[in-house]
C-alpha cells in the first residue's frame, strides 16, 4: 500500500519524518511512502537516510502550513501546502492514506474540504489510544469537533468501537460516555441527550453508561465518547500530569536512593518511553474516505514510525468498511 507522509509537518521539520519512514519501511514490507514536501530539503535527507529506493517517492510541495496558522486561512492562502497535497493524492487515488504531524486543524480542514464523509457519518472525529491499567482505550473525539451534536457523539461510539475491535483486537468493546458523574441524568444537555441515544441504539448492549475522569486510566471501558473540546483537554492534560508526576518521582524517589539510583533512573526512563504518546501511534481522523493519521506536533522518529504503522494497519484491515458496517446498525434518524 501507499501512504503519503506530510514531510514538512511537525515541530522538527522533515528529519523525523524521514527517520520515522525508515523505521516503518523496515517493519511493514507492504508499505511504500510518498514524501510530500520540499524536494530540495528532502533529497539530501533521503540520500543520507538509507531508505529502500524502490519504496520511496517524493511529491514536491515546497510550502507548509505553520503550526500556529489558522486552518481556514491556510486553506485559502496556501492550497498547495504539503498537507493539502497529501489529501489531493488521496482523493486522486494515488495513495491509500496519509500521515501528518503538522497543524491538526489544517489536517482536518483539508480532509473536510477534499474528501467525502463515509456513508452514515455526519461529522468526522479524531480518535486516540491511551494506555490504561487494563490495556488500552480509545477516546473519541479529541478535537475535530468542539461542539458536536448528540448524533455525532453516537457515531463516535460506533466508529470508536470499530477501531477498538479491528485495530486493537478487542472482541467485544465496551463504551462509556465521559460525564461528571455515573448516574443517568448527570451533566449538560449534550451528554444527557447522547446518553439517551446510546440507550435507544444498537450500541446499548456495549454501553456501560456515564464514566468519570478517573475511570479512563482504571480501564473502565474500551471506548470513551466525548466532545472534541473535553477530549482535547483530556488528551493534553494526561500528557501534563504524567510529565509532572514522573518528574516528581525522579526528584523525590529516584534522586535520593543510596545504591540503585542509576538503575532506578534507567527503569524510569524506560517507563516514560513505554507509555509516551509516541509509543501509541498517531490519532486517526475517522469518518472520512481514506485513511488519515494525525501525529503530535513534537513527534520524533518513533512516533512517526508508529503512525505510519497504524496507517498501514488501517488500510490492511479495511477499517472504513468496518466503520460503515457498524454505522449501518444505528437508528437512521439522521442528525439531531
Amino acid at each position: 500500500m501507499r501512504i503519503a507522509l506530510d514531510a514538512m509537518g511537525g515541530d522538527h521539520g522533515p528529519a523525523p519524518n524521514v527517520g520515522g519512514a525508515r523505521l516503518a519501511l523496515a517493519t511493514n514490507p507492504d508499505l511504500t511512502i510518498v514524501f510530500v514536501g520540499d524536494q530540495a530539503q528532502l533529497d539530501p535527507l533521503l540520500a543520507a537516510g538509507g531508505l529502500p529506493g524502490g519504496r520511496v517517492e517524493v511529491f514536491h510541495a515546497p510550502h507548509a502550513v505553520e503550526m500556529k496558522e489558522k486552518p481556514a486561512e491556510a486553506l485559502r492562502r496556501k492550497p498547495d501546502a504539503s498537507i493539502f497535497r497529501c489529501w489531493e493524492l488521496l482523493a486522486e487515488g494515488r495513495v491509500d492514506g496519509l500521515v501528518s504531524a503538522g497543524n491538526t486543524g489544517a489536517v482536518v480542514a483539508g480532509g473536510l474540504k477534499t474528501r467525502r464523509f463515509l456513508p452514515c457519518v455526519h461529522r468526522p472525529g479524531i480518535a486516540t489510544v491511551m494506555p490504561t491499567a487494563k490495556g488500552r482505550c480509545v477516546i473519541m473525539d479529541v478535537g475535530a469537533n468542539v461542539f458536536p451534536k448528540p448524533r455525532h457523539m453516537l457515531e463516535y461510539g460506533a466508529m470508536g468501537s470499530a477501531f477498538a475491535r479491528h485495530m486493537l483486537n478487542v472482541a467485544r468493546p465496551t463504551l462509556g460516555l465521559m460525564n461528571v458523574g455515573e448516574e443517568e441524568g448527570k451533566g449538560h444537555e449534550l451528554v444527557q441527550k447522547t446518553y439517551d441515544l446510546f440507550r435507544a441504539s444498537s450500541l446499548n448492549d456495549r454501553f456501560v453508561g456515564n464514566i468519570e475522569g478517573r475511570d479512563i486510566h482504571r480501564g473502565a471501558v474500551d471506548v470513551v465518547v466525548t466532545d472534541g473540546f473535553t477530549g482535547n483537554v483530556v488528551l493534553k492534560l494526561c500528557e501534563g500530569v504524567s510529565e509532572f508526576v514522573l518528574g516528581l518521582v525522579g526528584q523525590e524517589v529516584v534522586a535520593g536512593l543510596p545504591n540503585d539510583r542509576a538503575a532506578a533512573a534507567q527503569a524510569l526512563k524506560a517507563l516514560v518511553a513505554k507509555y509516551h504518546y509516541s509509543a501509541f501511534g498517531g490519532a486517526p481522523l475517522l469518518g472520512v474516505e481514506g485513511v488519515c493519521i494525525i501525529c503530535h506536533g513534537s513527534s520524533k522518529d518513533a512516533a512517526i514510525a508508529n503512525a505510519l504503522g497504524v496507517a498501514a494497519l488501517d488500510v490492511r484491515v479495511n477499517l472504513n468498511e468496518k466503520i460503515v458496517a457498524e454505522l449501518e446498525g444505528l437508528p437512521a434518524n439522521g442528525e439531531e
Copy 2:
C-alpha cells in the same frame, strides 16, 4: 469561629469527620466545630475521640443524603438532612461556615436554596487547588455549573484570583482560560466569548489568554478558568492519571530494584501522600454568602482536617469581602 461539619457526609460515615475534627481543633485554636449528624452515632465517637469538650457541639440531624441521591429530590424529600441543616445554621448566623464530604450536588443545591449570592455574583462555582511544577494553581469551576455563560466564567476568574491572592498568598495571580489551543479564536462559542470578556475587563492585565491541558501542571498560570463540566473531568482525570502513573512506577521501577526497594517504596508512599488531594484541602464553593468547603467523598481524617483548616482560614481572611471587592471592578454589564 464556628464551623458546621456535615458529620454524616462522605463514603466512610462519621468516623473520619470526628478524626479530622480532632486534628483541626489541635492546629486551629480559634475553631469551634458543630457536628451536624445523628447524635446516637456521634456521642460514642466523640467520647472516644478525645476532642476538647468546650469546642465541640452536636446538632442532631439523623438523616443524611446518600452519595448517589439526586440533589433536587433530596431537597424535597429530606429537607432535614444533615447537609441542609448545616446550611440553615449558616443562614441563621449560628456558624460562620460549613464543611461537607457528602453528595456534592446536594451541598451545592442546599447552598443555592438557602443562601444569597454575594453581590455581583451571577452563579457560584467550585474552586479547587492543584499542585503544579511551580507551586499551586486554582481551577474554577470544577462542577457547580456544567453549562455556564461567559459572564459566569469571567466572575470565576475574579473569584479564583481573590482566592489565589488571599488564601494561597499569590501577590499577583495570573489567569488562563482552559481551551484546545493557545491562539485567540480557538474553541467553541463559550470560550471565545469568555476570552473577549476577559480582554475587555479589569482582569485583562493578569489574563495570559488560552491555555491547554498540559499547561496546568507545568504551572503556566495561578488561576485556570473553565466550565464546570470540563473542570470536573479535569479534576477526576488528574486523580486517575496520578494513580495510574504512580502504580506503574511501583511495579516497573521500584519493584525491580536490587538494594533500595524498601527505601524507594517508602519515598514513593511519601510522594503519594504529599500530592494526594487530601493534602490540598477541600474545594470551596465560592460566590455564596458564608463559607462552604466541599470534600472528596472518600475523605479520611487528614482530608477533613485540611478542609476545616481551609474553612477557618477563609473566615479569618474574610475571603468573601475580598471576592466582592474583586467583582466590583468588573464591567457591570450583567449576565451575558
